[in-house]
């Protein structure tokens, strides 16, 4: 049947195609820009994961407190007159003052800067190095993989506290060295998980295709493998954020971390908190609550992120 100009219109009016819900979702997905897709993912996350959203809120509060510490905190972190004895919470000092007359609430606010700095930098550097070693091992396999794995084994079975003490003893205490001490144990743990996922990716046909058209190894690793193991990387990263904050607090509590007069939560617990445990328990309770809430936030968020990104990935 030929169609020519001036032909009578077809008898049935043009039917508006009705698509299944999946087809509509597929079309919407194709039309979407990255920004819109991101926004939808966020809305979806908020709707479906109330716990994760609560965690995100805690994180945002903490980020804001750290960013605007000067505005939020009523006093400076080291401001105050030496009194020798702590004072109880009052309207003037919401959480009282410590033995040096410093406002505890203000020190908590400033402490979030230390916690976030240590948490972010050590988990970011550690996870990224872990990603690097994991991808290297998965891609090259054989001897390279074997050697990398053995080194990771050694690092994993090495007690963290020895690493921390050694770093502190060799480099001296201080924020930067705490970051080094916490970064080291993160590396092998991320490397293991990334390697496991990477091994599956390496067997994919597109890797073989890339190799056969002569793409060089570094490009394959970073452009083809790394993006495909990004989900486990991101999951480990958020998981270790909370752990890093916790570790920093523990090291500072042991006297191996951040040093006075820097405001750090673990340090507040160690020094003033332990000294005045009987007379002024709030000095010990307040920083503990701050540590717990922030780690809680990161863990809740990381957990839900894991569920959202990859429910089958088993990282406890």
């Amino acid at each position: 049947m030929t169609n020519y100009a001036g032909a009578p219109p077809p008898q049935t009016p043009a039917v508006v195609p009705t698509h299944s819900a999946e087809e509509l979702a597929r079309r919407r997905y194709l039309e979407d820009t990255t920004a819109r897709r991101f926004r939808r993912a966020v809305v979806d996350f908020i709707k479906r994961r109330p716990l994760g959203t609560f965690g995100a809120v805690l994180i945002i509060v903490m980020l804001l407190a750290a960013a605007f510490a000067e505005v939020v905190a009523p006093y400076g972190p080291n401001e105050g007159e030496f009194t020798g004895l702590p004072t109880a919470p009052s309207l003037e000092h919401l959480l009282g003052t410590d033995g040096f007359g410093r406002d505890v609430f203000s020190r908590l606010i400033y402490g979030s800067q230390t916690a976030l700095l240590v948490g972010f930098s050590s988990s970011l550097v550690g996870s990224t190095l872990g990603l690097l070693f994991g991808v290297l091992g998965a891609y090259f396999g054989g001897k390279t993989d074997e050697i990398i794995q053995r080194i990771m084994d050694i690092l994993i079975s090495f007690p963290l506290i020895v690493i921390a003490i050694a770093v502190v003893a060799a480099l001296g205490p201080g924020t930067l060295n705490v970051i080094v001490a916490i970064t080291l144990p993160v590396i092998p743990r991320v490397a293991r998980v990334v390697r496991a996922s990477g091994l599956a990716v390496v067997r994919m046909p597109y890797i073989e295709a890339a190799r056969s058209v002569g793409v060089r190894a570094p490009r394959i690793m970073f452009r083809h493998i790394a993006p495909n193991v990004f989900a486990p990387y991101l999951i480990m990263l958020t998981a270790f954020l909370g752990q890093a904050i916790l570790l920093e607090a523990s090291l500072s509590f042991l006297g191996l971390g951040v040093v006075e007069p820097e405001p750090a939560w673990g340090l507040m617990l160690r020094g003033q908190g332990m000294t005045f445990l009987d007379q002024a328990p709030w000095l010990a309770i307040a920083p503990g609550v701050a540590i717990s809430l922030s780690v809680f936030g990161f863990n809740l968020f990381g957990d839900s992120l894991r569920d959202a990104l990859d429910p089958r990935l088993r990282t406890a």
Binding site: S157, I161, V162, I165, A170, G242, L293
Partner: protein, 316 residues
């Protein structure tokens, strides 16, 4: 299977060797030695005295000789004498071993007793308020620093029962009830904290299994829900849970440094911290090697257990 076991056992050797070398190097890189530290408080000590003592302890020997001594000792299971106390290292460790093992076992038992039922309930009631409460409870355990939880526990116990951490621990063989009443509190704190990981693992693992065909079959043939859950779902999801719990046990064995500090428990963790602080090379080397050995060995046992518990897993 036999070949696999032998292969795995042999693989432990390079890992442990690496740990030994790393410990040796790290301890020598860290500034200060045991003699300098011993006399650091006592004003001016003639150089000859210091030199003589270093000679006696073998610290003036060239590094490669010291290392050869160390390696030769390991082969003969002779770890030398503690540089600080002069007593044999094995004696020093033996005195603390019991309490550390007991605390680790007690905590692991409590953690398991908490984790299995909670994890199963959370999985069965997925996304209900019960699930949320259990998840918040377990993530909360991960978020609270164990030393802080310990401090809170002590504060509460002091107020309620006038109980304070004892100065001397009663060995379990002398008076089991007294011993348990002393160790139960640190074990509860540690057990709660480490139940979190196992709870989450149980939950996700049971969730995965619940979707399997044989669970539907079990339900279809009219089995009671409890039987379906306990016999079919839980049994088949135990493998990853066992892994997590065993690894935690390996960690708890030497990793309770901070908790031991808070509860005044004279365990291996405290011994290690003191040994590093005193630059007691021989003791540190032996302890780190011991911890790494336990860690690597438990890992090995878990891998072998996999094949026993799940006949589908075969080792070539």
């Amino acid at each position: 299977m036999q070949r696999y076991i032998i292969g795995r056992l042999l693989l432990m050797v390079p890992t442990l060797l690496g740990v030994a070398i790393l410990t040796f190097v790290i301890m020598r890189v860290v500034p200060g030695d045991v003699v300098a530290l011993r006399y650091s408080q006592s004003g001016s000590v003639p150089q000859e005295v210091i030199d003589r003592e270093r000679d006696q302890l073998g610290l003036n020997k060239p590094l490669h000789e010291q290392f050869a001594d160390f390696m030769g000792g390991i082969v003969r299971f002779d770890f030398g004498n503690s540089l600080w106390t002069g007593r044999p290292v094995t004696e020093e460790i033996k005195g603390r071993l019991g309490i550390s093992i007991e605390l680790a076992i007690l905590s692991t038992l409590l953690a398991t007793a908490l984790a299995l039922p909670l994890g199963v309930i959370a999985a069965v009631k997925q996304d209900s308020w019960i699930d949320y409460v259990i998840r918040v409870f377990s993530i909360g355990g991960l978020a609270m620093p164990s030393f802080w939880l310990g401090i809170l526990a002590i504060l509460t116990l002091v107020v309620l029962f006038q109980w304070a951490p004892p100065l001397i621990f009663v060995p379990i063989w002398d008076d089991p009830i007294e011993n348990l009443s002393q160790l139960i509190w640190p074990a509860l704190v540690v057990g709660y904290r480490y139940s979190a990981v196992a709870t989450r693992m149980t939950r996700s693992s049971v969730l995965e299994v619940l979707r399997d065909d044989y669970v539907r079959t079990a339900r279809a043939k009219g089995l009671r829900e409890t039987v379906v859950i306990v016999r079919h779902a839980l049994r088949n999801s135990l493998l990853p849970v066992i892994t997590v719990i065993s690894l935690e046990f390996a960690f708890l064995f030497g990793g309770l440094v901070v908790t031991e500090q808070v509860f005044n428990v004279n365990g291996l963790g405290k011994l290690l911290v003191d040994a590093v602080a005193q630059r007691d090379y021989t003791l540190v080397q032996a302890l780190v090697l011991l911890f790494s050995f336990v860690f690597v060995f438990v890992n090995f046992i878990v891998d072998v257990l996999y094949g026993v518990l799940d006949p589908r897993i075969r080792y070539g």
